[in-house]
């Protein structure tokens, strides 16, 4: 694979870093200028990342080394097909959610807006850093930056509840980071390198017991951010954050970073061959299947809309890991596709929840009957997102779930196919009643009359909803997610199995 050396990754990272400090220094004095910095940084970042796309699609890798820390350890960006998927998703959705945030924050006249936008920019800096990292050390660095930056966002409301949620968030994620640090150190000690390689690089470098132990500690460490049960509890609590935070960070950036890291470990550090040899993929698959089913069951019992969506996210994240754990071509493809597709759909759902809150201050599903008639655009978008998550064409969720099921078949484990189908059934069971209630039931208080939320709030929702359908029909268009996923799977599986 040809390597291109270019400073573009560094420039892309600097865009959000400089943007963050510009936001901080502009502050409340000039709100419009501050919002301009956010949007400008987002657009520039996306543009720079997209500019690398042609290289990646031609099978090259874009690399940029910042500095060498020790023998074999670098702070280095290496953009490959898989990283590209996440980077494109995060940077594009930052633009969308920034528009949404502006509307949301101004409509509610929220406090501490500068801090919010500053931490947001830093969080995206961290997330894209995770995507573009070329080895575990760089990944860990940006992973930590992401955790620290999002803490202030989770505790934004500053109520005792929010602060408690923030503390819980830190406790789970920093403990996970300690596990990761340990695993990373042992990996470096065993192999002398931390660079990602498709198909893994630990083969033959340690005994079965040590490698299994390191894999388990890696999974515990990154699994905390990917909200695998039982270390998922921080995610529903974090729903106390303002909705744009939940939307981008907890449906897309933070948890997707966790899942991304898990996949990096499974596919680019250990690799399918090692996992099959060690027999580790079966226990992993069972653990995440447990999460898949149980999360969906719990989702059924939640009346708070955002909490229900949170559990749905937990479900989907474990679906992604399950796909990768199945160590099959289609499973990996499906998992990698589900990252961006789920991102689009989930963010639509969260933004709808936020729009409803902005206009009606309602948070519970039981209160939302009849809203469809008053906020048709919002609820239509919600429907699209929900249908997609259930796996109904032509929304993009169908495509990723299709490949995931194929993957289960390819791995010759029918039980996981059943897990996917059962999860889809449960999805239907808790999404459809919301939609039905919104459109076909009469509102409890006939006097309530609401309009759609402001333009800045609704427009992003429309973009992502249309995007979900668009990707469902043309999965390869625009950001070439499909091609990237296929190429990644080929690279991974090509080596070894």
């Amino acid at each position: 694979m040809e390597t291109v050396h270019s400073a573009t990754p560094l420039l892309a990272m600097l865009a959000s870093l400089i943007g963050a400090f510009l936001i901080l220094f502009t502050g409340e004095r000039n709100r419009n200028l501050r919002e301009f910095w956010t949007l400008a940084a987002a657009v520039i970042k996306f543009g720079l990342i997209a500019s690398m796309l042609p290289y990646i699609l031609h099978g090259k890798i874009v690399e940029y080394t910042i500095v060498e820390v020790y023998k074999g350890l670098f702070l280095q960006f290496r953009v490959d097909t898989f990283g590209m998927i996440f980077a494109l998703l995060a940077s594009f959705l930052w633009i969308v959610v920034s528009l949404y945030s502006i509307g949301y924050m101004r409509d509610l006249n929220e406090h501490a807006q500068t801090r919010y936008f500053f931490c947001f920019a830093l969080a995206i800096f961290g997330a894209v850093g995770v995507a573009l990292a070329g080895n575990l050390l760089t990944l860990y660095m940006f992973y930590e930056i992401l955790t620290v930056a999002t803490f202030a966002l989770v505790a934004h409301k500053e109520t005792p509840e929010a602060i408690k949620a923030g503390r819980k968030y830190l406790a789970y994620l920093l403990t996970g980071a300690a596990f990761v640090l340990f695993s990373m150190a042992v990996t470096y000690y065993l192999t002398g390198t931390l660079d990602f390689k498709p198909g893994g690089f630990v083969a033959g470098h340690g005994s079965r017991e040590i490698l299994s132990l390191v894999f388990v500690t890696f999974m515990i460490g990154f699994g905390s951010k990917a909200a695998i049960m039982p270390i998922h509890e921080w995610l529903p609590s974090a729903m106390i954050a303002p909705t744009p935070v939940s939307a981008l960070l907890h449906a897309v950036a933070v948890v997707k970073a966790g899942v991304f890291c898990c996949l990096r470990v499974i596919l680019y550090v250990f690799g399918p061959k090692v996992l099959s040899d060690l027999g580790l993929w079966i226990p992993l698959a069972f653990v995440v299947s447990f999460t898949v089913i149980v999360a969906n069951i719990i989702a059924l019992t939640q009346d708070h809309l955002k909490r229900r969506l949170a559990f749905s996210t937990i479900n989907n994240l474990s679906i992604i890991i399950l796909g990768a754990a199945l160590v099959s071509h289609d499973g990996i493809r499906g998992a990698m596709l589900h990252i961006p597709f789920h991102g689009f759909m989930k963010i639509t759902l969260f933004m709808c929840a936020g729009a409803i809150y902005v206009k009606t201050h309602k948070e519970f599903i039981s209160e939302m009957e009849g809203i469809g008639k008053q906020m048709p655009i919002t609820m239509a978008a919600f429907t699209i997102g929900a249908l997609g998550l259930t796996g109904i064409p032509p929304v993009c969720g169908f495509i990723s779930k299709w490949y995931l099921c194929l993957g289960a078949l390819e791995a010759k484990e029918i039980i996981f196919l059943l897990v996917f189908l059962a999860s889809a059934l449960l999805d239907a069971a808790y999404f459809l009643p919301i939609i039905y209630g919104a459109f076909f039931k009469k509102p409890k208080f006939v006097k309530d009359h609401f309009d759609e939320a402001s333009f800045f709030v609704v427009f992003p929702i429309v973009i992502t909803a249309i995007g979900s359908i668009f990707f469902g029909l043309f999965p390869d268009a625009f950001m070439h997610f499909f091609k990237l996923a296929v190429a990644s799977a080929k690279n991974i599986m090509g080596m070894g199995v």
Binding site: E28, I66, V67, E68, V69, Y70, L73, L75, L108, N109, E110, H111, A112, R115, L137, Y140, M141, E144, I145, V148, F151, A152, A155, K157, E158, T159, P160, E161, I163, G166, R167, L170, L174, T175, A178, L181, F182, A185, V186, Y188, Y189
Partner: protein, 501 residues
């Protein structure tokens, strides 16, 4: 050529100019700080020059005082181990000096300022001298110079400072005397005081009990000065009640120089094999370190005074360095040496922030830090950088030294030490996020002011620029040290680790 004089310039300039500070200050107070600044700049310049010379020369440079040959004369040796420490000491002391101008105005009566700066300069002289010297007795003398000035400038602090300083006098003297006893025992059996000479003469005598007792006294003495558990008891009181500048000067530098002496002791005076294969010194140090870190974490959690919390943090950091020594391998020792330098910057950062907060609000109770981020955003930003470094978030320097320490314990298969390292990072995170939470977030009642668009203005009330600039430079230093830690290791620290590892 002046470059030959670098080793001695580093120490002699501040020593002589400290006398001038007192005299000139008696005549006109405004000249004190410039003189100190000149003295420390000369030291810094010489230290950097020496660094370059060591790298170019590829080996240690020697300076024989009075041109007397060692081992009969005293010599100053600058090798790969002490040269980065020298630069760090000089650099940080200059920054603290700039910081001190405004800070000391508030905490000292004006007539005492020349004396203060005299002692300041003497202290730095002592610290630089300890690092530069190659003679064991000379080290005692300089150690005492540094200690005296420390006792005195600690004593002029707030309520409780004089008593803490007195206790420090007693404790510190025990330490220095123990060190002297160690030197004495070694002198009896070898007849030499020069470190390199001892290195050659001692191996034949390792069986001797006198040498073993000497080593034991050394460890006690250096341990007390270093502030490791259980010899740390003087530290919390002394550094908390001292004036802010004094803690900012002493906390980063004094204990780390003690750690440097410990490394010199174990690896230059005695051969590494003495401490590792012959007698389980390194192992014992490892256990002490583990106990110390656990103790420090527990005590730090119980503190509500910011500076006291930092003092217990120092005890923990010293434990880290000992863990690096206890791992007894190249990685661990690299981590320990890197951590000495990193910790200097981290503690300088934290203590100057505490000083700044003290300057503006006069209150160090962390539970009363509300609205601090509106009043002092830059100070708190610096604090966050320091906090993240102690917790171990890349790219701050703290992560990189922790990384080597962890690798060292893995290679040495000391799993308990590894567990202590990782667990203490989490406790550090709790400690700092507690403060950050109190300072940045403003807890309110449920739904009370969530949508009111912000508080009525609490205006910006930062410390003056002469205090901010040093803090910002230290913070920048922390980040740069982190990013370039690979360069530092490759060019300097690599060679500081004894070749037998």
């Amino acid at each position: 050529m002046i470059s030959h004089q670098f080793p001695v310039l580093i120490v002699v300039t501040p020593l002589i100019l400290s006398f001038f500070v007192n005299v000139v200050g008696w005549w006109d107070k405004r000249y004190c700080v410039p003189i100190v600044f000149v003295a420390l700049s000369v030291s810094l310049f010489s230290a950097i020059g020496a660094l370059e010379a060591v790298i170019k020369h590829g080996g240690p440079i020697h300076y024989h005082l009075g041109n007397w040959q060692p081992p009969w004369g005293i010599e100053y040796v600058i090798d790969y181990l002490n040269t980065p420490i020298l630069v760090a000491i000089a650099f940080i002391s200059i920054l603290v000096l700039i910081f001190s101008q405004r800070s000391i105005e508030k905490e000292l009566p004006e007539s005492k300022i020349p004396q203060f700066y005299t002692l300041f300069l003497l202290n730095v002289t002592g610290l630089l001298g300890i690092t530069v010297t190659g003679d064991a007795f000379n080290l005692y003398v300089l150690l005492e110079i540094a200690s005296f000035s420390a006792y005195a400038i600690i004593g002029i602090g707030e309520r409780g400072a004089d008593f803490s300083a007195f206790r420090y006098v007693i404790f510190g003297t025990i330490g220095a005397c123990a060190y002297l006893l160690g030197v004495g025992y070694l002198y009896i059996v070898t007849g030499s005081l020069n470190m390199a000479d001892l290195h050659h003469l001692l191996p034949k005598l390792y069986y001797s009990r006198a040498v073993l007792v000497g080593m034991a006294f050394f460890l006690v003495g250096v341990g007390i000065k270093m502030g490791i558990f259980p010899f740390h008891t003087w530290m919390p009181d002394a550094y908390t009640y001292a004036p802010s500048t004094v803690s900012a000067l002493l906390a980063p530098l004094f204990t780390k120089v003690g750690a440097y002496v410990m490394i010199r002791l174990l690896f230059t005076i005695f051969e590494p094999s003495f401490s590792i294969k012959l007698y389980p010194v390194a192992e014992i140090l490892g256990w002490i370190a583990a106990a110390g870190i656990v103790f420090a974490c527990v005590m730090a959690l119980a503190q509500s005074d910011l500076k006291r919390m930092f003092c217990y943090l120092i005890v923990g950091e010293m434990g880290y360095i000992l863990i690096g020594i206890a791992s007894a391998n190249r990685l661990g020792l690299t981590g320990a040496i890197l951590h000495i330098i990193n910790d200097m910057f981290m503690m300088a950062c934290l203590f100057t922030v505490a000083g700044a907060i003290m300057y503006k609000t006069g209150d160090r109770n962390i539970y009363r830090f509300r609205y601090l981020h509106r009043k002092m955003p830059i100070t708190l930003g610096v604090f966050v950088v320091g906090a993240l470094s102690v917790v171990g978030v890349p790219p701050m320097c703290g992560f990189f030294s922790k990384w080597y320490l962890i690798l060292g314990t893995i290679e040495a298969k000391k799993w308990i030490l590894l567990g202590v390292l990782l667990a203490s990072s989490l406790v550090n995170a709790i400690l700092f996020f507690r403060v950050i939470e109190n300072a940045y977030l403003e807890p309110r009642g449920e739904h009370a002011f969530a949508h009111d668009g912000g508080h009525p203005s609490i205006s910006l009330d930062e410390v003056p620029w002469s205090m901010l600039i040093p803090m910002l430079m230290i913070a920048a230093g922390i980040i740069l040290l982190g990013i370039f830690s690979g360069v530092i290791i490759k060019h300097i620290i690599q060679f500081a680790v004894p070749a037998s590892f």
